[in-house]
Symmetry: C3
Subunit: 206 residues, 3 copies
């Protein structure tokens, strides 16, 4: 499991570094954005749960994220042309950290709802910070069934564990569901219906 | 008091979900923005004070925020037409969490200045994150006497408690002041004078 | 050392208040942006390390940041015309908090990589939040060798301490290096080469 966990952080870090390349940042910008995208979600999860931050205890994840982001600085043109591959890797990473994040919350004594929230936080906060710092529309502004896939996977993983399955089996189940939903969204350009304000009515900015 | 506290979180969550509706986000976007607006300020306050995060211990606040945001997804056109009502509810919420936040800091052993800062943080950080993620001008960029009302209320509440009043009386006093200032600002379109750079001088971006 | 530490926070707070002045914020906006720029980096460092937040224990830093930001509200035109001076003070502040941040991490038992990261976090997170809230391009988007100077200084300070020097000597060494690199960048308009995507290839937004 630790290997898979690290792989997910590295994939996230690569997506962060690719945003840095689109924004033509310098080398340190790649490292910053790669590291915060790779470990940001898990960091916020640990802070919320009152646990020691995982990469402060063992710096392997942040070391690998920094290395990955640094490599992207010199090879971004190669990676960008493999954009579809990265999208799929990112979907795998999202599915994995969702169930790992939820399981970590459960192990820390959190109830079902908090565990689901922590799964979603782990999967999406890194990307949200990446998009804020890179001045791109955030994954919660775009409609591409990313957070939704994570939320459904986290919910089913937590429900399965509390109802019938062992934790490992429930995690595999939830991850497969999250990945399947995200895959279908990527393949079929799925999007949730969005709220559209009725015309002739323009609520003021709050 | 817990009831009032929850009501304030729900009102904040509704303001977050209304930003999601203006940005035409999908259902999960409503939940994300509603939840982070509802519990964001108190979360940052608890982290800064080194206390367990309130909704991780008892998930009632985040559950209610998620429900409220989900309901807004299907009813935003009704709520938007009641925009003035929401503005007033938000003013009440701001006044309440300001003094609750300051009191929580005092109870945790913080001094007067830190308690005041925590009151303002509780009242405004949720809205600041909401506006960042929704790509709207932040409440600290707009001039509508929101943070100011919270700061004055927090200051008077803390001062009253350390000088003369019992904590509950000081909290009521501070909340009434904060709400009154904010009410006048809403009713009379009050705004603080802003700093205007002198013409003929254009300081470079730092 | 505490005096120097406070001086750095105040200089950062002034840069935050100057952004508030450019954005024509009101008085409370100055205080908010000044305080978060002044103490933001150290706050995130302390949270990540699991230490009590420094200004919650002793509110002197946040008090001075608020005072400095308030003074800037009334004198921003004077300070803006001394923009070059401020740029140099900010470079000194960056160099100091970099090595202080790294040393605090080392003292808390962190390894070399985490200590370096904490030095950079202390020096740059305040400015990053300032630019996010002020809707300005972040220091990691601009190419002005700010984060780079901090990273090199932190690395050399940590390396020197683990190899040969006493902690105070290593801190002076790292701070001088960080300040020197930043000074040269300011004086000579240095910038790191940036990644430029090859033409004829337009990777989609991730």
């Amino acid at each position: 499991m630790p290997f898979i966990d690290l792989a997910a952080a590295v994939v996230f870090a690569i997506t962060g570094a690719l945003v840095a390349s689109r924004k033509e940042m310098d080398f340190l910008g790649f490292l910053w954005l790669g590291a915060i995208t790779g470990v940001g979600g898990g960091t916020v999860r640990d802070l919320l749960l009152g646990l020691p931050v995982f990469w402060v205890i063992d710096p392997t994840p942040i070391a690998l994220c920094l290395i990955a982001a640094g490599v992207v600085h010199f090879t971004a043109h190669l990676i960008a042309s493999r954009y579809r591959l990265l999208l799929w890797l990112d979907a795998i990473g999202m599915a994995l950290v969702t169930v790992v994040g939820a399981a970590k919350a459960t192990d820390a004594g959190a109830g079902a709802l908090v565990a689901i929230v922590m799964g979603v936080v782990t999967a999406s906060v890194g990307g949200i910070i990446r998009d804020l710092l890179g001045q791109e529309p955030s994954i919660i502004l775009r409609r591409e069934i990313y957070v939704t896939a994570s939320a459904v996977g986290a919910t089913l993983s937590v429900a399965a564990q509390s109802l019938v399955l062992s934790q490992p089996a429930a995690m595999v189940f939830g991850a497969v569901i999250a990945f399947t939903i995200r895959s279908l969204a990527i393949s079929l350009d799925w999007a949730l219906p969005v709220y559209r304000p009725r015309r002739g009515r323009d609520p003021d900015a709050l």
